[in-house]
């Protein structure tokens, strides 16, 4: 009965398990081949001696992991961590008010959201290069300040921690705004009215109703900023120069210039483990302090 297509569909409908596999299959396959397998290869590499011309030689060693605990690398790790946390906090402080305003934006809502995602239309690389034109000694900012007579000498901004932080915050801000916007947008306005009629002034109303109910968005935004910030290398490379190395730069170097894949892999796994621990700790703390007891 029916065409082959109809028969196949009928067969799928009668078997919920087969249907689930049909839906999950393609995505699972993709992740398996292009994520899980490479990561396993990397893990194996991180435990093998380094080959003379790159690659690995047969054998087993923990040397690469031991090497990471050199003060030189721990310094990079610490800087990466502090910067990622700082970037997340700055994004949160800048992004929340923006998300809040857009969520209350009435008819401008869609237009404003469009503006937030607009930068994604250009590659991140191009946008980061554009920041060089802005920040360098002969760049737009210094030129204006000189012309206006605010400064006599150009301020060095490029290749400083400031430039890296500016680039990171700029790049990740939309990832903070979007989830917070989503949670504020579906906030039931009658809850705010109820709080107000129960005697809550605007600040109290925000602290006790708006903020706790937007926490899922805040948590999602923080994770979406913190994790990629921790692994970023493009921004620190272009805007920070060699002095402002982040862990991402180290890994990239080991895989490219240094041709030391095993050490690069080991560094990656250490960072991955740290991210996992940090995120778990964060979620634990967040669950314990949802603003107030239920």
């Amino acid at each position: 009965m029916g065409s082959p297509r109809e028969r196949a569909l009928a067969w799928l409908y009668s078997r919920p398990q087969a249907r689930a596999w049909a839906l999950l299959g393609p995505g699972t396959f993709w992740l398996l081949v292009f994520f899980l397998v490479p990561i396993l290869i990397m893990f194996v590499y991180s435990l093998m001696p380094r080959g003379i011309y790159g690659g690995v030689e047969p054998g087993f060693t923990l040397e690469h992991y031991r090497r990471f605990f050199d003060p030189l690398y721990l310094d990079i790790l610490q800087r990466t961590f502090v910067w990622s946390v700082a970037c997340t906090v700055i994004c949160l402080l800048l992004g929340y008010p923006v998300a809040y305003t857009i969520a209350r934006g009435g008819k401008w809502k869609n237009m404003l959201m469009f503006l937030v995602v607009l930068p994604f239309w250009t590659s991140f690389l191009v946008r980061t290069f554009a920041m060089i034109f802005l920040l360098r000694d002969t760049g737009l900012i210094n030129n204006w300040l000189l012309k206006l007579g605010v400064i006599q000498e150009p301020i060095t901004m490029l290749y400083t921690p400031f430039a890296v932080m500016a680039g990171l915050v700029y790049g990740f801000l939309p990832f903070m705004i979007l989830p917070i916007y989503a949670s504020l947008e579906k906030l039931d306005l009658s809850l705010l009215e109820a709080a107000e009629v129960l005697g809550a002034k605007p600040a109290e109303r925000f602290r006790r109703v708006t903020l706790p109910l937007s926490m899922p968005g805040v948590v999602a935004g923080c994770l979406l900023v913190f994790i990629p910030a921790l692994g970023s290398f493009l921004t620190s490379d272009l805007l920070g120069g060699a002095k402002q190395m982040m862990i991402g730069n180290l890994v990239q170097n080991q895989f490219s210039a240094a041709r030391n894949w095993p050490f690069g892999s080991a560094a990656s796994f250490i960072v991955m483990a740290l991210v996992l621990v940090a995120v778990m700790a964060y979620l634990r703390v967040k669950d314990k302090t949802p603003g107030e007891a239920p």
Binding site: D188, S190, L191, E193, A194, A195, E196, V197, L198, G199, A200, K201, E204, R208, V209, P212, L213, P290, G291, E292, A293, P294
Partner: protein
Amino acid sequence: MAVPPSPNSGPVVQLSSVSKTFGDTKAVNDVSFEIQRGEFFSMLGPSGCGKTTTLRLLAGFEQPDEDGGEVRLLGEVVNKKRPYERKIAMVFQSYALFPHLSVQRNVAFGLEQRKTPKSEIGDRVRKAMEMVRLKPDTFARRMPAQLSGGQRQRVALARALVLEPDILLLDEPLGAIDLKLRKEMQLELKSLNKQLGTTFVYVTHDQEEALTMSDRIAVMDNARVAQLGTPAEIYENPRTGFVAKFIGESNFFDGTAARRQGGKWEVERNGGGRFVVPDHPALSDGKSVRIAVRPEWMDVWPPSDVPAGENAVGGTIRDVIYLGETMHVIVTVPGCEDVTVAVRNEGQLIKPLPWKRGDQAAVAWLPEDCQILEEV
């Protein structure tokens, strides 16, 4: 029916010529009324009639137009006051319980905002929950998502009553719960009103609900108060066709006032025949008049048996409808809309009504059961 306000108090709510405009739309147009302490006052009307906006003006979510009259609560002009500066409590149509707070914390919210001592809060929350018949031990720790609609309704009510407000505003609070529970809650609300002495201002589109609970009703239509009175006044003496139609059912007859005789008026019906109606200030010689008659005040007779002294129109039976408690006999009358007559059902199996479709019949009623409408 009206419960007189306690003698030592003035009105707690006063609206004088209040107007509110949104864009080009007048949502509330020159509305004035006063509500006495302890009254159960309802605003009744179809959606878009301005009742909810009026309530929001009392709550402080909206403010009257610049030259839009005065809102007074407890004697004080509050036009510019924010909701948290007004001594009111409110129950929302959607309940608006805080989903991240337990029942206990929801009910305590207003007390905490008003800086009530901690030692007092626990006791008052318990009392408020008991008042709305929610067992504190069972429900205090539950989250709103774990409650049924009726229970949420009670939490919302407890959250408002715990503040011991002078004025409680209720915005269609029973709209979302099922009929049986709704009837039960109506009686509970009414008894809470009497027991606490709190003034209730209640918004509803359900005329039966308003009649059941209210001391007085403001029927609203098209941003204005169409009529304000006790349930009996509104039902038995509607001033306009809108009120007569919106509250209960009515049959309408149009005619011309012909002559006044012995304290009564004779009216020529537009479709033929004449009625006798009670005297009314709106009547004068030759003036056109619209009369409303409630279905349950009418009776159906064989054309030749109409009792003397009653008004009557003749017609054809169109339908006999079984409603359980009552029977509706629908009669087609030349020159006006079909007339509905409500007859008590005395048992159709034992004592069936003698009418069937197509029978000739007369509909009759007493002159004093004619309601003369001011707006034709």
